[in-house]
Amino acid sequence: MTAQVNGARASTSQSGGGWRLRLSDFSDRHRSTTVIAGMALTGLLLPLVVLLPPFNGFSNQNVWLDGFTIAGIYVLLALGLNIVVGLSGLLDLGYAAFFAIGSYTFAFAASSFTGLNFPFWPMLLVGAITAAIFGILLGAPTLRLRGDYLAIVTLGFGEIVPIVILNSSKYTEGPNGIGGINPPELAGFVFPTVGNPWPFYIMMLALITICMILIYRLQDSRLGRSWMAIREDELAAAANGVNTVTTKLLAFALGASTAGLAGVFASSKLTLVSPNLFRFDVSFTVLAMVVLGGMGNIWGVAIGAFIVFLTQTVILKQLNVFFGNLGVPFLSDIDFLQYQFLLYGIALVAMMLLRPEGLFPSRRRRRELHTEEDVEFGEHGDPLGESPE
C-alpha cells in the first residue's frame, strides 16, 4: 500500500512548489543552521520594520523592541507547552504554574526580599531544573489518568500554585509580590530594565534560538519519536517497547523547564513578580498560541505565539486609537476597550472554525484534515520514513 501511495504521489511531484520543497528539505537536514539563520533574520528585521509607517506611528522603536522581548517570553512558553501538548498529546491546562515557579525561584534567589544575590546566568538553569522537578511531581500521580482527567488535574495544579503564593505572605509577600529583583549582569555590565531595550532583546533572541535548537534535537531523537508515538496511540507505543512512564515524565519535565527558564527571564526583566501574573488566563493564552500556531510544529508555534501576543497586547488595546484615526463617525464613538473580549472570542471561534489545525500545522496534521492537499507531500516519500513530521 505504501508503494502504491508513493507511486501516486510521485506522479504528481513534478507540479509546482519546487523552491519551497527544496527549502524545507534543506531545513530538515540542517535544522540548527536554519534556526540560527531564521532567528537572526527575524531579529534583524523586526527592529527595522517598526521604523516604517504605519508601525512608527503607534510607538517608537524602543517600545516596540520592549514589546517584542515580552512576546519572546510567550514564544518560549509556547515552545515548552508544545512539547507537552503538541508533541506528546498530554493536555496541560495549568502551564502557568511552571512559569510561576521559575519566576519565584529567581525572585527568592536575587532580590531585596531575601537579600540573596545569586548571579543570573546559572539561575536560568536552576530555575529550569526547579520547574522540571515540579513537572515530574505533577506528572507522577497523573500517569494513570486518561486525557481529560489529566486536564483537570493540571488545571487544578495551575490554580493551586498562585493560591499558595497569594496566601503565604510570610514567604512570598502574597499579593504585594516580590519587588526589587536584580537584573542580569554580564562582566560588570548591568542589563538596563528601563530605557535601552537592546540587551534584553538580544538575550531573548539567543534564548529562543538555543531552545529551538534543543527542542528540534529532541523532536528528531528517539525521545521525540516516543512522544509522538504516545500522542497517537499510547497502547501501541507501549506494546512497541516505549517506556510510557519515563516518556511522559520527561515530557512534563522538559516542558516545565522551558517555562521555568522563561520565568527567570521574565522576573529579572520586570524586576517584580506577583501571583497576579500567573492566573488561568496565562495558561489558556499559551494553549491558544500552541493551537493557533499549529500544534506540533515548532516554528508554527513560535509564530503563533508572536501573533497572538501582538493581537492581545497591541491590536486589541490600540483599537480606539486606530478607529479614532480612521475617522468613521460611528466607529470612533465606540469604546473598543470594552469590546476586547468579544473581538478576541470571535477571532478564536472564527479561527477554529476556519482552520482548526492552526496556522502552520505539522504536515501530518494537515493531511488528517485537508486530504485534497496531499499534492504537497508528494516529494517526501514514505511518511513513516525519515521525516516523522
Binding site: 482527567y149 470594552q338 468579544l342 470571535i346 472554525l353 489545525e357 484534515l369
Partner: protein, 343 residues
C-alpha cells in the same frame, strides 16, 4: 490483554445492583462527619451552594459523556441564565430588584413563570452554541473545540458586560431572604430550602428521564458508542442537541436559583462557577450524572468546611487537593466507569 468492562448506565438502581454502594456510603459518611464538624447552620450553607454546583456540573458531565468535550462555555450559560432570570423578573414581571414577592401565591406564580421562560431559552442557547461552534469541529483535533468553547465564553461574558455593566447587578429574590424556619437554635432560610429542593427535584427528574424514556436511552447509547447507536437508528445530531438542551436548561435553572439566593449577579460569575462544576463532574466520574451531583455537594462541603475553620482562602486549593487525591485512588472518579486500558 485489555479488559473492557461494560460501562454501567447512570441509573441509581443499576448502581445499587452492581454493589457500588461504596462511593455513596463514602459520601454519606463524609456528610455526617462534616455535619458534626461544622454544625447544622454551616451544613445548610454547604448543601445550598453544593446544590447549585451540582446543577451546573450535571450539564458539564452530560455534554462530556456524549461528545467528549470540556464545554468551558457552560459556566457562562449559567451566568446568562442568571441574567435572563433577572431580566424576566424585572422587565417582564415587573418586580423591583431588592424586593420580594408580596404573598406566597404570587411567589409561586413568579417562580413558575421564570423557570418556564428561562430554562427553555437557555436550552436553546446551548443548542445554538453546539450547532454553530462545536458541530463543525466534531472531526477536528480535540483541542480545537476547547479553544472555541473558551472563545464562546469570552463572547458571552462580554455581551453581558456591555449590556449590564461590569458591577454586580441586583436581582429580585422573590422569596424574602430573611424568612427563616427555626429548628432549635438553627435557623434555616426558606430560600435555602427552595434552592436545595429545586436542585434535587430537577436531578431526580433528569435521572428518571435518562433511565426510563426512549430519548434518555438514545442519549445513553450515543454516549456509550456513537456508531453502534447510529446503526440502531438513533439520530445522533438530534440526540446531541437534546443533550445540550437539557444540560443548558439545567444551567439556566442554576442561574435562576443563584439569583434567588444571592440577590446580586455579576457578568464574570461563569468562570469560577464553571471551573468548580467541572471539578465536580470529574470528581464524580465524568459522564456520570449522579457522580456530578455528588461531586457538586462534595465541593460545597469542602469549601464551607474550609471557611468554618478559618481557611477560607484555601478553599479552592483544598477542592483541587481533594480532587487529586480521589483521582489517585480512583482514576475514573468516584462513580466513574472502571475502564481498562483501551486505545
Amino acid at each position: 490483554m485489555t479488559t473492557t468492562t461494560i460501562p454501567a448506565s447512570s441509573g441509581f438502581g443499576e448502581s445499587v445492583r452492581r454493589l457500588r454502594i461504596g462511593p455513596y456510603l463514602f459520601v454519606v459518611a463524609l456528610g455526617l462527619i462534616v455535619f458534626v464538624a461544622i454544625g447544622p447552620q454551616q451544613f445548610v450553607n454547604a448543601l445550598t451552594i453544593g446544590a447549585i454546583y451540582a446543577l451546573i456540573a450535571i450539564g458539564y458531565t452530560m455534554v462530556y459523556g456524549i461528545i467528549e468535550l470540556i464545554n468551558f462555555a457552560h459556566g457562562d450559560v449559567f451566568m446568562v441564565g442568571a441574567f435572563a432570570s433577572m431580566f424576566v423578573l424585572t422587565s417582564v414581571l415587573g418586580q423591583e430588584p431588592n424586593s420580594s414577592a408580596d404573598s406566597a401565591p404570587q411567589a409561586v406564580f413568579l417562580i413558575v413563570t421564570t423557570f418556564l421562560i428561562v430554562m427553555p431559552v437557555m436550552g436553546l442557547l446551548g443548542v445554538a452554541i453546539e450547532r454553530f461552534a462545536y458541530r463543525p469541529l466534531r472531526n477536528a483535533p480535540r483541542l480545537a473545540p476547547l479553544i472555541t468553547a473558551i472563545g464562546i465564553s469570552f463572547i458571552l461574558q462580554n455581551i453581558i458586560q456591555i449590556i449590564f455593566g461590569p458591577s454586580p447587578v441586583n436581582t429580585p429574590q422573590v422569596i424574602p431572604p430573611t424568612a427563616k424556619i427555626q429548628i432549635g437554635d438553627v435557623s434555616i432560610g426558606v430560600v435555602n430550602i427552595f434552592v436545595i429542593s429545586v436542585s434535587v427535584g430537577l436531578m431526580i427528574v433528569l435521572q428518571l428521564f435518562v433511565s426510563r424514556t426512549r430519548l434518555g436511552r438514545a442519549m445513553r447509547s450515543t454516549a456509550q458508542d456513537r456508531e453502534a447507536a447510529q446503526l440502531m437508528g438513533v439520530d445522533i445530531n438530534r440526540t446531541i442537541a437534546l443533550t445540550f438542551f437539557i444540560g443548558s436548561a439545567l444551567a439556566g435553572a442554576a442561574g435562576i436559583v443563584q439569583g434567588f439566593y444571592f440577590g446580586a449577579i455579576t457578568f464574570n460569575l461563569g468562570f469560577q462557577a464553571g471551573l468548580k462544576a467541572f471539578t465536580a463532574a470529574v470528581l464524580g466520574g465524568i459522564g456520570n450524572i449522579a457522580g456530578a451531583a455528588l461531586g457538586g455537594f462534595i465541593i460545597g462541603f469542602v469549601e464551607v468546611t474550609a471557611a468554618a475553620y478559618g481557611l477560607f482562602v484555601w478553599g479552592q486549593a483544598l477542592v483541587f487537593a481533594v480532587l487529586i487525591i480521589v483521582l489517585v485512588f480512583r482514576p475514573s472518579g468516584l462513580l466513574g466507569q472502571q475502564l481498562g486500558e483501551r486505545a
